[in-house]
């Protein structure tokens, strides 16, 4: 089973929940899919055993074959190609790697070359499978990295807990879409609620069941619960606001190491997710 841990808003506690959930469930596989700034390793100090490079295509145009018919530029939904006055311009950062231009070119003038956009690291941490992606700085899209990470999950292994990136962009949609359950970690603030709603919309659109963890729970938590009630999405766990939780985090200490009493709550959370996925 694959569980995506997402949030919409950044800094709500995705990593706190993902790491401690993985540490509380036997044989878990922890996947850090926030490839722009992976941070689960700070809490788990994994040993990396292999590194898989991840590539993205770049269209390369052979101008001796090209007759500037523009079929490639017209086909490209992302405007990564332009044909102006007997020149073909390629904008690699806009290319999504579909290779459509290669196929539509009637003169076979385009070939797909590759450039490395990052890598996936696979190793072990405290008896768990540990997978993390790293997108190279300046590369705009982590989608290919996230897909490679998910492909590396051992299908015969235990549950995969996937720490998604913040926001609701393509890489997050891919993470949620490939999971059986989406755990949404939020905080009871207007910003938390605003971005939570967007993340809820994504999960709903993709047909992935979701549940909510309210972190830094305090007096104003009703705004989250009201929204959950309205959408019939369960609140599965509340983590109260506690300065000591933040202190443990700042030392790189997982929640369940600093406060072992949370282990049982996270196990019940996992059992509840399992129950909801199975039925």
């Amino acid at each position: 089973m694959k569980i995506a841990v997402a949030s919409g808003k950044g800094g709500t506690g995705k990593t706190t929940v993902a790491v401690s959930l993985a540490l509380s469930v036997p044989d878990a596989q922890l996947v850090d899919a926030d490839a722009e700034e992976p941070n689960c390793h700070l809490f788990l100090r994994p040993s990396i055993q292999r590194t898989i490079p991840v590539y993205m295509m770049v269209p390369h145009v052979d101008l001796t074959k090209c007759d500037f018919c523009r079929k490639c530029a017209d086909f490209c939904a992302f405007n990564a190609l332009a044909v102006v006055k007997e020149q073909v311009l390629v904008f690699p950062e806009l290319c999504h790697g579909c290779t459509g231009c290669v196929y539509v070119c009637p003169r076979e003038a385009i070939v797909a070359r590759q450039r490395q956009i990052g890598e996936v690291e696979i190793g072990a941490a405290r008896g768990m499978v540990f997978i993390q992606g790293r997108l190279k700085p300046t590369e705009p899209s982590a989608v290919r990295i996230v897909r490679e990470e998910i492909a590396q999950i051992d299908p015969k292994g235990g549950p995969a807990i996937i720490d998604a990136s913040p926001g609701t962009a393509c890489a997050v949609q891919d993470t949620i879409g490939q999971s059986q359950f989406c755990l949404l970690v939020t905080e009871p603030t207007p910003f938390g609620l605003h971005d939570l709603k967007m993340a809820m919309d994504v999960a709903q659109e993709l047909g992935v069941p979701s549940g909510v963890v309210i972190n830094r729970n305090g007096a104003r938590d009703s705004i989250i619960e009201d929204e959950c009630r309205k959408r019939n999405i369960p609140v599965l766990l509340k983590i109260p606001f506690d300065r000591r939780v933040a202190e443990a985090y700042s030392r790189g200490q997982p929640l369940v190491d600093a406060f072992p009493e949370w282990r049982e709550s996270l196990r019940s959370l996992y059992r509840e997710i399992e129950r909801r996925v199975m039925t």
């Binding site: 530029a73 939904a77 992302f78 405007n79 990564a80 332009a82 102006v84 006055k85 311009l89 806009l94």
Partner: protein, 122 residues
């Protein structure tokens, strides 16, 4: 000579639109006769690459120069590849901009005036 001017409206008295790729209108203007072809920009809501598409459009219409407020790196590269002169920093009405070009007051820009995604809201 035909030029392309980014505009908030469809005639010469409209204001310059400071965005290039996502300008509301592109006015293709014959600088001798002041004949105007107004094009509603189809790329306003493009997901990405609006500057590239808008460049392609003005090149196809035979413009030899572009007058606008700002021009990002991808649009600049596309327009420059097609040999167009790019004038940025313009404001006021389209007519005033055309007149200042004709009187020789303007100097073409040598590089993009803003970073990418400048004219997109998201």
């Amino acid at each position: 000579m035909k030029i392309a001017v980014t505009s908030t409206g469809s005639d010469l008295d409209a204001q310059i639109d400071p965005r290039f790729g996502r300008a509301q209108y592109l006015l293709i203007i014959d600088v001798e006769s002041y004949e105007v072809e107004a094009i509603e920009n189809p790329n306003i809501a493009a997901g990405g690459g609006a500057g590239i598409q808008t460049s392609q459009l003005v090149v196809d219409r035979g413009a030899e120069a572009v007058l606008t407020g700002n021009c990002g790196p991808n649009a600049f590269r596309t327009l420059a590849a097609a040999g167009l002169k790019i004038y940025t920093g313009l404001n006021g009405s389209v007519r005033e901009a055309v007149e200042s070009l004709k009187s020789g007051e303007l100097t073409p820009t040598e590089g993009p005036s803003v970073p990418g995604h400048f004219g997109s809201s998201g």
